[in-house]
Every structure is written in C-alpha cells, then in structure tokens.
Symmetry: C3
Subunit: 663 residues, 3 copies
Amino acid sequence: PRIGVCYFPEHWPRERWKTDVDQMVDAGIDVVRMGEFSWGRIEPERGAFDFEWLDTAVSLFDDAGIDVVLCTPTATPPKWLIDDHPEILQAEPDGTAREFGSRRHYCFNSPVYREETERIVRAMAERYADADAVVGWQTDNEYGCHDTIRCYCSDCATAFREWCREEYGTVDELNEAWGTAFWSQQHASFAELDPPGHTVTDHHPSRRLAYARFASESVADYNRFQTELLRESNDEWFVTHNFMGHFETLDAFEVGEDLDFATWDSYPTGFAQFREPSAVTDNRLRAGDPDQVSFNHDLYRGPAGFWVMEQQPGDVNWPPRCPQPGEGAMRLWAHQAVAHGANVVSYFRWRRCRQGQEQYHAGLRKHDGSADRGYDDAARAAGEFDALGDLDPVDPDVAVCVSYDDLWALSDHPHAPEFEYLRLVDSFYRALRARGHQVDVVEPDADLDGYAAVVAPTLHLADESLAARFEAYAAGGGHLLVGPRTGYKLPDNRIQPDLAPGPFADLVGGHVDQHETLPESLPTRLTYRGDEYDFRTWAEWLTPDAARATGEYTAGAAAGRPAVLERSVDAGSVAYCGVWPSEELADALVTDVLDRAGVSSTDRLPETVRVARRDGRVWVLNFGSGPLTVDVPADATWYVGGASIPGYGVGVVDADVSDISIQ
Amino acid sequence: PRIGVCYFPEHWPRERWKTDVDQMVDAGIDVVRMGEFSWGRIEPERGAFDFEWLDTAVSLFDDAGIDVVLCTPTATPPKWLIDDHPEILQAEPDGTAREFGSRRHYCFNSPVYREETERIVRAMAERYADADAVVGWQTDNEYGCHDTIRCYCSDCATAFREWCREEYGTVDELNEAWGTAFWSQQHASFAELDPPGHTVTDHHPSRRLAYARFASESVADYNRFQTELLRESNDEWFVTHNFMGHFETLDAFEVGEDLDFATWDSYPTGFAQFREPSAVTDNRLRAGDPDQVSFNHDLYRGPAGFWVMEQQPGDVNWPPRCPQPGEGAMRLWAHQAVAHGANVVSYFRWRRCRQGQEQYHAGLRKHDGSADRGYDDAARAAGEFDALGDLDPVDPDVAVCVSYDDLWALSDHPHAPEFEYLRLVDSFYRALRARGHQVDVVEPDADLDGYAAVVAPTLHLADESLAARFEAYAAGGGHLLVGPRTGYKLPDNRIQPDLAPGPFADLVGGHVDQHETLPESLPTRLTYRGDEYDFRTWAEWLTPDAARATGEYTAGAAAGRPAVLERSVDAGSVAYCGVWPSEELADALVTDVLDRAGVSSTDRLPETVRVARRDGRVWVLNFGSGPLTVDVPADATWYVGGASIPGYGVGVVDADVSDISIQ
Amino acid sequence: PRIGVCYFPEHWPRERWKTDVDQMVDAGIDVVRMGEFSWGRIEPERGAFDFEWLDTAVSLFDDAGIDVVLCTPTATPPKWLIDDHPEILQAEPDGTAREFGSRRHYCFNSPVYREETERIVRAMAERYADADAVVGWQTDNEYGCHDTIRCYCSDCATAFREWCREEYGTVDELNEAWGTAFWSQQHASFAELDPPGHTVTDHHPSRRLAYARFASESVADYNRFQTELLRESNDEWFVTHNFMGHFETLDAFEVGEDLDFATWDSYPTGFAQFREPSAVTDNRLRAGDPDQVSFNHDLYRGPAGFWVMEQQPGDVNWPPRCPQPGEGAMRLWAHQAVAHGANVVSYFRWRRCRQGQEQYHAGLRKHDGSADRGYDDAARAAGEFDALGDLDPVDPDVAVCVSYDDLWALSDHPHAPEFEYLRLVDSFYRALRARGHQVDVVEPDADLDGYAAVVAPTLHLADESLAARFEAYAAGGGHLLVGPRTGYKLPDNRIQPDLAPGPFADLVGGHVDQHETLPESLPTRLTYRGDEYDFRTWAEWLTPDAARATGEYTAGAAAGRPAVLERSVDAGSVAYCGVWPSEELADALVTDVLDRAGVSSTDRLPETVRVARRDGRVWVLNFGSGPLTVDVPADATWYVGGASIPGYGVGVVDADVSDISIQ
Ligand SMILES: [Mg+2]
Ligand SMILES: [Mg+2]
Ligand SMILES: [Mg+2]
Ligand SMILES: [Zn+2]
Ligand SMILES: [Zn+2]
Ligand SMILES: [Zn+2]
C-alpha cells in the first residue's frame, strides 16, 4: 500500500512548489492528485488555454518520483462559460436555477455541457498523454455532492422522456408497470412525462423511482463519456472517480463498471456527527465510528481493490463542529483502509487553504507551510506501508447485499421518518464487524457462490428471477439471513400481486400477514430462541408455512405472533427476520447464520475495537482513547506495533482473528 | 344505519369485479362509492369518453342490490388537460405553480376549469341519470386537502378584486373597514388589490382574513356549480361532499348549505398522532382519541344526519407512523359514528391498493383479495346495524359555537404559537363529552332556542347584532359559558372601538383590563369558587361591573385580579372565562353551567370511555385495551353486547345515560 | 433628559387629537414623533399631496409646547407607486420579489426609488422648513427590519459591480484579494460579478463579505441622500435614524457618521425571549435582560448622546409570547436609558392601534383612550427627569471593541452553529457590567487613548496597521484583553499568510497552534491562575513566545496546552484568551485587566441588579421582582427613590459606585 496527497499548486506561489514536493518526498508520499477544480486556471477565457503552470508542477513530481493522478476539472465550469450558456445550470423542482458561485452547477444531461466537457477533457488528456508521471485520472469530483444528482431542468425533461421510451417501449407499458390509473396519472404519450416538479403532495412512487434511476444513470452515462475520452488519449491510464461516504442518490455499482477501480473520500469524524445524539460519543468525535467508515471501504472495494482518494488529515471545516482528532487518528485511519483492502491512502489536502469555501480545513501542512498534526501520522504510515509491501486482497466469508433501487424505493415510502435504508443495512453490517468478520458489500444479483453466508438486510424490490438466485444459493449449501420488507414490491415500485415476501415466500417458508411501524412510545419486544430482545420501527406479523417460528412478539397488538422464521433448504438454510433488530438481536441473528455456515466468530468486540484480516495478517484497530492489550499466539509476529496498543493506535500481527484476544 | 365501502374498479382486473361484489354482499355492505379519481380512465383523451367499464361496475352493484354513490372526478384533471391549459394550475404566494403529479392541482377560480368541469360533470351525470343503482353523488373529493383552499394565481387575483368590490362596494369603504392607513396600505382602486404574496413580514390582518373568506367562498361557489349541474340531470339524487377532520381553511357550514347532507373522512389513529407527544397515548395509537373524532361527527351532522364516507379500515399510510389498530377498533368506530348520528359508515377502501401514492393503506380485503383485519369488524357492524334498524336523530341539550371566521382571525394573530382555535374549542368540547353530553356544534348565529345551555369557547369577531342574539338567549332563560378573546374585534378583523369584550360587555357584566400570553415557564394559577386550578397560554385581567368574580389569579403579574365572571340574566345566566382552562377547570365550568341549566351530568368518565345517547339507546364505547363492566337498571335491554365490554368493544343498551355506571 | 412619545394622528379621528395632546401635556411629554409610515396619507395618488392633516397636528403640538420630530415616510411606499414601478421591489437570492403588503419593500439601490424619495422628502422638508415646532427628522424607519438590508435584484447587481470596481480598481486585484482560484471562481471582468444567488452550497466567503459590506454601504448611502435633502431645507434641524437592537446586517457606526446623533428602539421583554431557554427567566420576561438592553444604549451612544426613539410601553405584539411587564418596568427602562446617556426616552406608541399588523401592541393609552399600564410610569419618569435636569455625558474607563466586518465574516464561517459574534461580545460586556463599569462600545480603529483598559472580544479581520494601533495603545500604558479568533484573516476574508493571531502575534507574544470547535458533550475545562473554569464552543491551542501562559486546558485533546497568555508591554499589558469564556472566566479576565489598569470594580452584582454612573450620580436599577436595600455614605443624597428599592424599581443617589453596597 502507498500514501498519497491532494495538492493545489494553483493556490500557492510557484516559488513554493519545490519545497512542497521535497516535504512530500520526506514524508514518503508516493502519489499526488491535482487539478480537479482548475478549469478557471487552465482556460481563463474561452480557448485561451494555459497549461504551463500544470506542466511545471507535473514535471516537479516526475523529478521526485511521485506518481500523478490528474482530474478532469468539470465540477467547476468557470463563470464565462456559464454566462455563455446559462442553460447548463441545474434546476430545482420548482424551476429555480442552481447558480454559479459554489460548485457542481452543471446539468449531466446538458448537450451543451457535453460539448464543453469534450473540449476541456480532450485538451487536458492530449496535453498529458505522454507524461510519464501521470499514471491515471480521476473523472470530475464527487458526483452529486450537495444533492446534485437529481436535476429538474428542461434538458433533463427531454432526456427523461427518452429514457422512459427506452425503458418501456410504449407508454401503455409504462402506464401498466407504474399503475397510473391511480389518481388519473395516465400518460397518453412519452412527451407528457415531466421531471417530478413542485406538487402539493407526494408524486407517484413509480415515477419517483424511475426519476431516481434516470438521474443516476445520467451521471453514469456522463462519467462513461469522460472515461472514453480519456482512454482515447492513452489507454494505459487507469480511470477512477472519488465517491462519497454513505451517499444515496448515485448507484456506485453502475458507475464503477466504467472505472478501473473506485476511490472514495473518507472523513471519519465528520461522518460521525450525522447520527442521533446518543451515537455521537467522545471517541467517535475524535476517531470516527469505525463501522461507518469500513462499510464504505467494503462498498467501494472491487476486484482491483480501491483507494481512499481523500483521507481526513486533521480537523475539517464542514461538520456541525470540528473537534481535533485524537492523537494518531490520521495514522489509524490509513491502516484501517489498508486492512479493508485499500491500495493507496491519499490525504486531503497538502496544505490548509487560505482562500475560498474550505478555509478552516486541515492539511498535512499548515497554511504557513509548517507541519500540521497529520503530517507525522502520514509519514509514519508511509514507512509502515513500505515495510508491509504489496498485500493480497481481502477475502470475506460473508456478503451483505445492498441495492440502490431498494434504497430509493424505501426513501420515498419509508412509512416512518426513522426508517432509513442505510441505517438498516448498518444494523446487520455492524453486528458482523463486531464479531471480527470481513464483509463484501454486493448487489443482490451478484454471484454469491463463494460466500459461506449472505446477509440481505432487505430485498425490497424483487421478481421471480431474483428469488430464484437466492433459492439456488441456499439449495447449494448457502446460508441466508434476510431482513424485513423483503419482496414487497415489483422492480417498478408497485406492490407485488401476492402477499410479502412475494416471490421469496417459498424460500422463506411463510408470508407476512400484517405490518406496522411503531413510534418509540409503543412496546417493541420479542423472544428469539428463548431470549428476550428489543427491536425498532418496523414489525411484520408472520405466518409460517414450511418454516418454523424462532421468534415471537411478546407485547403490543402483535403479541403472540411470529416475528422470525427459519428453515433448512437442502444443504443450506434461510432465516427471515420480520423486524428491524436491536443491536443484541442483530448479533444473535448473524452469529446463528454464521454458525450454520460453519464460520466461527470472535467474542463480541467493544464498539471502539475492530479487527480485520488481510493477506494473513490481522489489524487490531483501537478507536478508543484508552490502551488495549492483545494476547496472540507465542509465535505470532508483530509487523506494526505490538501487544500493547495505545489509544487511537494500531497493531498488525500475523495471526488468525480467532487466535487473538483483546483486553 | 348502513355499511358502505369505497371501491376502485379501475385499479383491478375486470374479471375480479364479480368476486369483489359477492364478498361485499357477504359482509352486508349496502352502499358503494366509486369514481372520484377516474377522469383519466373515463376520458383518456379529450372528448374520447369511455364509460363502458363504469357501466359494467354499476350494473354489477345494481344486480347485487347495493346502492351506488358516484363522484365527480374533478380532484384529478388528467395530464392532457393540464398540458392544454396550464393556467388551470394553482400557484403559491410567490407564484410557483402547483404542478401535475399528485392531485388537487386546479384553481377553484379558473374560468377554463369551470368549463372543463361542466363538460365532465355533465357527461357523467347524463350517463347515469337513469341508473337505478345510483342514489346520489359526491362532488369532487376532500376539497382543500394538502393545503389547497388558498391559491394565489392570476385568476384568483381577478376573482379577489371582484369579491372585494361585491363585499365593500367602494374602495374607500374597504380602506375604512380594514384600517389601511396603517403602514400606508391604502388602496386607490379595487384593481390594486392582489392576493397576499411573498412579503418580508406579515400581511395586514384584515386583508388576510378577507383572503381567507374569499378563498373559502370560492370553493363553496365551485361546489355549488357542481351541485347544480348534477341536479339538472336528476333532481332526486342526493348530493354530498366528503369533508376532512379538523380542517381549517374551508367553511364547512357554508359549503354544507348546498348539500343534502354532509359526509366526512374519519381516520382516528392517524388524527391522534398530530398532537403534543404526551397526548399520543398507546390507546389513542390503537383506537384514536374519541373526542377528536366525535367533534367532527358533531360538526358535520346536520338536520339530515351525516355519513362517514371514508372510515379507517385498518392501518393507513399517511401519518408519521402506522401501528395496527386494536382488535375490534374498526367496529368500534362504526358504532361511535352511529351513536353520534351517522346514517352510513363507509370504509375506505375495499382492497389495499397495489400502485400509486396510497400503497400501504389497508382495505377490508388485502391486495391479494384475502380478508384484511377490518373485514370481520365491518361485517359484524353491518349485522348489528341491521338489527338496530332506522334510528332517530341525536338530540343534544347543549350546543358549542364554532366560527371559521374566528378560526382564521386567530390563526393569523395567535399571539402565542400554541394558541390554536380548534384546540381551545376542544378544551370545552372534551369536558362536555367526559360528562356524557351529546353536543351540537353550531355557528354563533345559529338558532340557540332549543338548547338548555350554550358554550362559546370564544366569540372573537363580533358586532352588536351578534351580542344581541346572545343577550336574547340568556334573557329567555338560556345559560351561557363564554371563553376568552371574545368580542376583541369587528368582523373585518379590526379591533373594536371599546375594550373587550366589546359588544358583549353588557351581557358579561365586565371588561378586559389587560391580556397576556404566557410561556410554560411562567406560573398560571387561579382559584375558581374556592378551588385551585391551572390554566394555559392566555390570561385576561378582568374588571367586573354587573357581574361578580368567581375566579381570581393567584400568581404572576396578574395575582389578585379577577379571571372568571358570572352573572344572572333574567331567567338565564352567563359565565365569562378569561383564560384557556385546564381540563379540570373546563370540567368545573361546564358542569356549573349545565347545573344552572338543570341538565344533569354523568360522573366524569376516563378518557378511554365515552357514552352517547341516540333514539333512546345508550352506546358505551371502550377506547381502552382493558375490559369495562357496566351497571344498568335491571330492566334494561342490551341491543349490542352486554354488561361486560372487552377492550376496544362497544355495548348498546336501552337506558338513560344517568342510569348507568361504568367500572 | 426628556420624555417623548410616538403618535399616529392618521390612525385616529381628527376630533380626538386635541384630547390626546392634552393628555400628553398632563403626562409631562416633551417630544412627539410622527409620520414614519404616512406616505399613503400624504400622497394618496401621484402628485396629489395632502398635508393639511399633518399641518393641523403639528400646530396642535406647537400650541402645547411639545417638540415635533418628523419622519420621512420612505419605509412604506404606497401601492400606486409600486404598481408604477415594480422594479423598486427588493428580491430574494433566487429572484423572488419581496412584494407590497407589509413594509420595507423597496431596494436601496433602485435609481427610480431615489427619484421617488427625493420627491417625497423634498415635499415634506419644504412644507415644514419654517415650522417652529419641528426640531428634527428621523430618516425612514428601522432600516433593514425583517432582514431587508441585503437585496438581490438587478439594480443591486449593477450597483455591486460598480462597488467592486471602486473597491478593487481591477478585476485581477479582486481575484487576488479574494483568492478566486479556489473552485474556479475567477472573474474575467467586473461585469461577471453577480449578487450571491441560489447555489447548491456555500458562496465564496470573500464574495459574501464583499456583498455584506456593499449592502450595508448601500443603506448608508441611501440614508446620506436623505440627510442631505433634509439639511438643504433647514440646516438647523437635527437628523437621526432609529436603529434596532442587536441588529447584525447594517454598520451603525457608518450610518451614524451622517447623523447628528443616533436613536434606537428598545423592547426589553421582547428581546429577552430570543435566547436559549435557560436564559429566559421569569424576571427577564417581566423586565428584560438589563445587559442586553444596555449594550445597545452603549453601542448607539455617541458624543452627542443618543435617544431611545421607541421605548416599550407595556406588552407588545411580536415576540413568541407577550407577558405583561412587571409593575413599574416602563419607568425602570426610562431610567436605565438615561443612566447610560440617553437625552430623550420616547415611548412607542401613544395609543394601542385598532388596525393593521401591530394590533395587540400596548401604548401609553389604550385603544379606547383610557390610560394603559405604561402611562403612569411615563408620567412619573417625566417628573423625575425634570427634577434631574440636564446631565453630563457618561464617561467610561473601559471600551469594548465591536466590528461589523468581523460580525459578518464570522457569521458566514462560524465553525459551530452556536458561535455568534454578538453573543461572544456579550460574554465580555456582561462581565464588565456585573462589576459596575460603564462601557463605551467602539470600533477597533477608534481612538483608544482615553481608556484605562480595552476589551476586544475578537479582532478577527486584521492587518498590520490595526495591530500597530493596539501595540501603540499598550506601549502607551493601556491594558488590553483580547479574545479568540483574533488576527485569523485579512480584511478581505482570506486567511492571513501567518499563523493566527497573524499581525497581533508580536503584541500577544505567541501564536495559535490549532483550534477546535466543541459540542456540548465534549469536556471544556481549563485552569486560569490556579482556579478551574469552564469555557464553551471554541478552543485555541496556544504556543507562548514572549508571553507567559496564565491558563491551561485540563481536559480533552487539548489537555496540558496553554489557553490564555499574558505579557507586559512597556507601561501596559495584554492578555490573550484563546477560548470563549464562561461567565466565571470572563469575570476573572475582566477583573484582572481592570486591576492592572488601576480601575476598581464593585462586588459582582446579581444578574437582576445593575448600577450605572452618570454626571456624579449613580442609578441603582432593580430588574428583579423582590426589593433591594442599598447602603450609601451617610451624606449621600437620593435624587430618586431611596435606600429601599422595590421590585422593578430604581434609585438615583449622589455617590460613587464603589461607595455603595446592595442587599
Ligand atoms: Mg511509500
Ligand atoms: Mg345492512
Ligand atoms: Mg419633561
Ligand atoms: Zn438538468
Ligand atoms: Zn387560483
Ligand atoms: Zn436591490
């Protein structure tokens, strides 16, 4: 694994650049990213390109042996371009333009912007096609940041109509698939279809889901256009994009198909603040919530691994408040990423910025050039990564299924304000990580063959073919744990003709008699295999058929009714959980499915301790302020650290997860 | 009383319809409502009417002996119509269009939409003028749902100017009545008058009240237009409309004048969630708040009774959360409605819907056609209603005065965010219901002669002629209880020339020296007839004249000043309460006024138990999960149930309210 | 000092006016303000002026010996004028017009409105140029009320471009000063500059600060235009404006330069409600928060003193809730103003208004003409003021520095939602007042020579010349206390090239190593001179150089690092506090700096008791409901009241602050 950094030469005097590069070399930095917001510097007026400054910067890195990743600067079209073509701007549902003055002010479906994109991307790609230091490209920057995946402009209206025509062929087909007879929402022609604008109450859920898919695919299409332009100039370059954490409106699986590998931007202490107050603990404010971060590592990891393209370097500027990270946390995060399969961890940014919207964001160096708190952490991690050398990919026994379509469908009809799809996934994912398991995050239609167990927090939108895949998996000896709201709807967001779980009813061995959402004031209790547990938010009253009930409600209107079902399926098994489980219940459910799968779990780890296995080594990661003591087999070797791990520290040891114990 | 159901044949395959009708017959259903959102199905393109499907459905019901209520489908003009005439759309105060994509996207003042309305209503009315099964019509559906009474489009601007001209004659008269000298808000001509658009602070309260009246009258006028069209085709049809619960922006009394009787849509567990958290009890989440529901029964009941056009059939889709109702609650609600005078209770809907915005809303049957939880409840109620036979109207001794004008005036100047008119009414209404009284909800200018006592929670807007009516009522032996903020303003929302209660000062026998609104942190205590009570939000410092003070503040800046006045008026009496009373104080006040009126009250009932008398029978309604035991005279007959009433159960007995006691 | 009142003859029948004037005379009222919203009455249609009514009113006051202050009526242009020129209206960032229907619906940069202003102001000024009773003018009314300083219309766009050209000369200079290379925000010409419209995330902070300055200067320029018009007609008139309390978007220092003196509008119990709930005590709801009010007295006081142009007369209509003030509070506030240097205290308004948006606002008389609660208070104060006679100005030993530019810069980048500039100032100001000090509120570049000590809660935007002024002050024997976030940024809102406090580093004798913002859940503790204290929100990790650390963090990530620095500077001293201090810490810091300056402090006063010295007399002001006992030297004379001061009462005694003690 290697260490990188993000650098903005255009923000600093040219005479300083050499010093910066020298300091990067001193820290052991191997990779630098540049250029993602530089359009205004490269092309100050139409057609008047100025690449000399960037040539100079690239050549300084070339001299220093540092790899360069360049970015297409399309996230920030300059003012002159917007003034030439204001129709490029995105629009709100009520038609208000999203104006110039921040960033991401262009529509992915603008034909004019496609032309402008082609101009700037070709100019940059051709300029650096033969530059040895330039090893690859990042397209644009953080697609969709500030809620910009979904645009409602007239270019989008045109594109949406075309998208619907391609999706459905005839408008009658669309009317049938959506069920537009409801509230006289029939469309007589594709030309009648509009983006979902300002209405007095909810839009039709099928139209909303279609628009969510359309918008996400529009971005994927725009990104594909950029990747093709870049590869035309040099087909040895890798092309990637930097995704965001817990981002909901863009299907990262789909965009990922056009990339060599994915990268993402990781800000642990910022993310940790966007939770309910009781979850914002002191330790999470100082070192992040490990599972919140690792979920994204696992989500964006592909066959070729992944990068953290932007790693938090110290305090940041954008969360509600900005405490200083714990001492050493910047090194801890780098190790955490590598333990989950990262090949490069690239800090954002080299220096604190003196101007613009990101003032108050730390770098590895302060704005006066002196070392910031993260600099030593980064240098230390760089040395340790050199010593670890190249590592094999991670190799999980268990997969968690995630579907953006399910996320969008449930976001539109959550049935309780607190029913958030990614929080439901989190409940199962966290339980697995607390038991020491590496996890692959996969789409429901992924190849599940290699996994001993599969956890599907929900499989909300479903058809017969999806159910058949899971049936085959279980029949082939796989062990399944499936969560609530599964099989409720057809892929077009219309309720199944049969009772839930619809096409999964045979596999699950039962069906849903009723469901309810419950405020906190109502009792939410059940027994599972004889023990009492709590659950939250959602309850299904189940009727078993081939399955047996392993859980039963003990309170409320549901008292006495089954809540959890389980059955054997040939060599495999399936458990169906009709509620959103509490932490304790999720732990019991995932432990049981892994037991059935023959995979052993660790003792349940405290929330500030996580272990992760990669390439025969185990990372012991301490997200707490107090020290840990780790017992390992006598012959185990510590590659990094040792048996005593300080607060916010890390150790790497050649042992198996099941052979170590932690106090 | 009879049982009905709402049905959407256009959502289901035609081959299923006969089965549905058969199941309705099995359940004892007498009435079906259809068609309220069917414009897109009836007229898929302009002028191309397709009634064949509806003919078939009507004829199936005719064969089954089920009465049909048809609806004009004007709540959902189809997309082709909006594309032809986008000027039909409503507009927000800032001019943003309220677009197609949900429902209620038309302006009541659009001349174009009047033409379109005439086209579709005539087509439907003429089609079914001779259909025996069609017994009446519902106009449109839930006027104003999703806050659509008040539109701010240019058609409304034109109509508002005309309304003002008719209301005031000359613009000088308007300027004087409103007091536009304040902040230079004089109008030089009616042409200068606009809807209240986007301003940096409050609009003039008289202009706001005028717009509220104008908007409500616009809807009444539009509804009248529909009723006339329908009656032109068949003058034996009844015409009704389905109002909503606790709905604030439409004057239901005024619309009601053009209907044969009113109906409304009752969702007890949904309504119960829109209260302060402490009021959202477990029992209310399972069976609703009985007084919240009964108030609407009493509000919409007229000389010809009323219907519940949409009765909650199980769990619903639109409140914050959707717990399952308690076992039996769907039957309980049907009985509650009948006890308050309903002639038909019609469940919404027959089957759970597979598509569109109301997915997740229960029906009497599930979406796969099997029985949903409400089906047996409905069938049981149907049988019991058949056994009860036709019932006389309810006949209350006491009336509560409610005025939409007062509501609108106080909503605009609440003087404390928690001062909500309907909550103030609720405080008095609830006290009456807890003492076993049937209540008529009437306008302040209604004929009060028949009532032993009248409770006016406030008579905020007032003139001399209104005061004279109440003086005559008391002088004639009536007993009045009048609440705070009475007589503050003239009907045009300008302060009275004299101190409050203005024209009521003589009747009340005193005046208001000062008023204040109080946050929860300040003390709110008084004594009334020697006992201590709490109050909330609003306090008037009263000065008695002919009256004597029966209540006095004991804390805060008001300590020692009178808070409640009382005086005899010839054969009658009047009590004036200068505060928003606590539950205990409201109980004392209403008990006292009824005592003076010679009407006996029951013991104070727990909040989960209510009794209601109709046609010589008493309904004992249990809104709690635990059982009740009812003591009745030895010779009393139980028509429904018996002395032991289970949780969410009901009994009907031929006794007087004062003869029964409940444990 | 004198007593005044605000009067609206246009709201009342002409036959009443004489009675009103007689009652004013009875109360001892010396000054009346009129006309500020009267355009619609003066000019009911274009060019048709009607001054006869105002002539009559002025002449009635002339006869009664009451001075008249007239107002230009420009805050409320009439509807006919807006219909003639809708381009006068302000606009929201997204372009939505701020429409007619309330007030303040004109743009300060509208050339058309300048012409209209000139027309009406000239007409009024010429009409009354020779009226003896008219002693001066108030321009407009409460500039910026309802958030109207910043407009985003096309006239403002034009004016902003011109402002930028004048400020920066060339667009390259602007690009450099702002740092527009960030996110490609370079401007190629001034014509490209727009007001900050609707964007998907933050605008550039330098552009935002520029717009804040531009908007404030636009108002100052508009006000200057009015003052010049008025002085052209009669150069003996004084010209003033009535500012608002704790108002953030207008630089009152700058506007003040064009006025003879400032006035402001004081509503103590209203202001007190806009605080965190724990600060909204019963006493503050009844008598206001004394320091919140006095800060504004001190802010608006200039060499010629100040007036309270609108003094709360009783209950008001606009805060969340409106309790009645404590008995006597209306007199207490008048004395408080005079103790802080007021020459006139003018109550708003004479009578409760029967129409328009301010119904429910008390006057000195009720709407029926009888005495309201404040009438006797006002009359009593008037008598006491006559007895006190003319008073010398207040003469503080200590100044607090306040900068609107700092306020705007920090509002845009607070770095924690609770970091509010004026609350930070309040923390230091309150500590000084609790120790009996009179305080001047001055701009950072004011002449500091006369002050023994200066407290700068922050000096956020800074350059070398500002630092040099403070260095000279300390070198000359001055004693400084400087708060956090000082010297972070250059005046154009770009981070300093050096570490904070940038140009102040030499004076302070150290620099900021790191900073952090802290949620309430994280520990915020430090020791200062051996005692433990709490702080809030903001922490700087300091590195001393020439200074010594007098405070050190004892918890959190900062534990062990310096938090407060202090050093001697020739004859003077400087203390630098890197945190937002708790009340106790602020008390310790201000007490210490005043000790060093040789100024003695009183015992720390309870929050409901304040003392203030003016012209040899001390006002003892009781903002609590309970009585106080005051010990004074035996020979001291009580001018008002005596040693026993009742709740909400006041005493004035000829003693020194240090000679009295209060129980
Ligand atoms: Mg390396
Ligand atoms: Mg029947
Ligand atoms: Mg005087
Ligand atoms: Zn678009
Ligand atoms: Zn309209
Ligand atoms: Zn403007």
